[in-house]
Symmetry: C2
């Protein structure tokens, strides 16, 4: 894409109403825009990152059998009343239609997915069953201050599993755990993320959260110094020793919950009277699990972890572009036409080879401004074409993560094969 | 995908609360499920069709320069008040947060996109600018009865363009018109869809709708018998003759509006005081256009146009799968293991060749039930493997659209190359 065509521009000033580093950088670099507290637009650069995260998550969830669907946002009051959450779900946004129908705006979808799956599942032969969606969710949070880390409107992946018994749920629960770590590995958050014991609600004693370390996090976790299992502060009083390795030493950290997995058991299948006929012809409650990943929150957490004082440093698999190609052209240069021509050729060739390239072709920006913008936006690889590099028939290549750049022969660069789209 | 794994099942009974043929078929075949009046879930089959339509639309919109973003659903009252639509937009769902903040749930996004683009555009050098999104929209309709054709919650592509002057808007408006016909051609609705003059609001005298002929349509249009331009009934009184070719003969038809394009002029830029500096250094109002396609409505219209008395007939480019592979296995057959083995081999090979295959591997369904289901679901190509076909080393291939099937040598079938993913 030509950067001159990108309608957003970088912003120099730090937004005064954002406390978290990730929100500040994402706004300044043109990835998101704040419409009101806790409500953001994903701008073209941000939407590209969002789509990359979405792709990784859906690939890994489909590998463990997830079938993708899209449930509605407008969930009628009667569904919420079945589970009593119309009263007790404090963060539910409520809206009333002209016809008198009241709806809760979906913050989670047990009340929709249970009666939906119930329509099609009656026998043990229909189980297990795994469905998921990636969707905008709504929560009427009292206090929002950390950009994408806690919002009123946000993007989420929610997966629901249905089983004959707890043993089968247990088995799938462990598969999801692995899939989640695979996702975290691909987006480059695994190193900073800890499997964390948290309270489990009514059915199972505990649930698991995936907590990413960052000072901007709202949670406090205690990490076992020996086996790395973490425990959420809210239940730490129950664990003088690590429940896994019996170690007594913990270190305290601030963290943000990017995902969670939950054994729901029959909590939501009972209110909807969702039973199946087992192998002996007897009716039994269906057993359930639910598994969430906050996509927009994960994007915020990524920036919390991957940035420096110049800007964002996107990991390769989620970056909005693979390469930031920067043309440095002095208007007085004798070879300015050559710079123009060679940069265009590199742009076209790299694109043909399957790379996503953002080409900074802007004429009204100084070299300094262009480099500051490139650092702020944070595309993993930067390629500069200038009079100086062309004299050596080279371009200057620099990884955003590294300090040093290197000169690469243009002829060699044009032979590079993409690791994608082959 | 193995059909035994698909959690939805086809439904024999015609849903009593759905008047339109498309809603009946989509529900019975397992593409959508009704949560409440005008509110539907896209089931796995439906989500696949939705994704295909989304892909076609975004490809064509990006060809004409559209930059994709994602704007919020929760739009604060203050934005709606700027344009006075908090009062006059009758179908706006309103919701109030615990902090007292009131929001309108986005049915369209002029109130968001204008101040957003305004942040980045100040000079004529920043124009024109085209942004779009594909998003869930909300409209508090009093009466909904036709499934996806008129819903309270629905999927829409909305594109907004920003220009220096009317001439530039005019030019882009014609490009969008062509892009829309390209989209309609790809989804196979072009033949039944008429460019239709409709009322234009305050700025331009007329807008254009894309009306697809179907008895389930809520609109009435008059089609010029000579040049095929149509006129919406609401403004037909102004046109005794066709405004394009001066013909007097029209035929009257029922139709559904699947898309529209609109010259907004300065209707929304004025309330937000959105001006740019022109080449002479003077400030001028930015001129705007907006362009919508109802994705979920288009999916409904597709089924209205493409079905027969047995079920849906999906056009190739939007079909949930390319091929429906059906195993017909008599449990008493001597070659039942061979049938199993050969069908699996065909399934694996076709998938490797890039085809999306739904494999009806179900053991508890009769051949008759399987064929009825295949016709209802409507995948364009059906391949049957049975004892009868294997005796000739063949499979039976039938296009959903055709009546006759043909026998194809398995060896030849396995050599078929996909027209996709190459």
């Amino acid at each position: 894409m030509l950067q001159s065509q990108l309608f957003t521009k970088t912003i120099r000033e730090i937004p005064k109403d954002e406390e978290s580093k990730s929100a500040q950088l994402l706004i300044r670099a043109g990835f998101i825009d704040k419409l009101s507290a806790g409500v953001y637009t994903f701008l073209p650069l941000g939407f590209r990152v969002f789509s990359n995260i979405e792709k990784i998550i859906s690939e890994e969830i489909e590998k463990i059998g997830g079938q993708r669907l899209l449930m509605p946002t407008l969930i009628p009051k009667s569904y919420w009343q079945k589970t009593n959450r119309w009263k007790i779900f404090k963060e539910l946004f409520k809206v009333k239609g002209k016809n008198g129908q009241e709806y809760g705006l979906g913050p989670t979808h047990e009340e929709v997915v249970v009666p939906l799956v119930q329509k099609y599942v009656s026998s043990y032969k229909d189980l297990p069953c795994y469905v998921y969606q990636i969707q905008t969710k709504f929560r009427d949070e009292i206090r929002v201050k950390s950009g994408l880390l806690r919002a009123r409107e946000f993007e989420m992946k929610d997966l629901y599993s249905f089983h004959q018994d707890e043993k089968d749920l247990e088995r799938y629960y462990e598969r999801v755990k692995k899939a989640y770590f695979k996702i975290l590995e691909r987006v480059k958050l695994k190193e900073k993320t800890y499997l964390t014991l948290a309270s489990g609600g009514t059915f199972s004693k505990f649930s698991h959260e995936f907590q990413t370390l960052t000072p901007a996090g709202e949670d406090t976790i205690y990490i076992c110094q020996k086996c790395n299992l973490a425990i959420n502060k809210e239940i730490k009083k129950q664990f003088p020793r690590c429940p896994r390795c019996k170690e007594e030493n913990f270190r305290k950290e601030k963290a943000i919950e990017v995902a969670n997995i939950f054994k729901l058991g029959t909590k939501y299948t009972k209110p909807f009277d969702f039973k199946f006929v087992n192998g002996k012809g007897e009716k039994q409650w269906v057993v359930m699990g639910c598994y969430g990943i906050g996509l927009s929150r994960l994007m915020g957490a990524l920036v919390e972890v991957h940035h420096d004082n110049k800007g964002i440093i996107w990991p390769k698999e989620v970056a909005p572009f693979d390469i930031h190609l920067v043309k440095i052209k002095n208007q007085k240069s004798k070879i300015k036409e050559k710079i123009e021509r060679v940069t265009s050729e590199i742009y076209n060739t790299l694109q043909k080879r399957g790379f996503d390239v953002l080409y900074d072709d802007r004429e009204n920006k100084s070299p300094g401004e262009k480099l500051v913008d490139a650092d702020l936006i944070g595309i993993p690889k930067r390629i500069i074409v200038s009079e100086r590099t062309l004299k050596k028939n080279c371009v200057e290549v620099k990884e955003r993560r590294e300090k040093k750049s290197k000169l690469v022969k243009i002829a060699n660069l044009l032979k590079t094969k993409s690791n994608k789209n082959i």
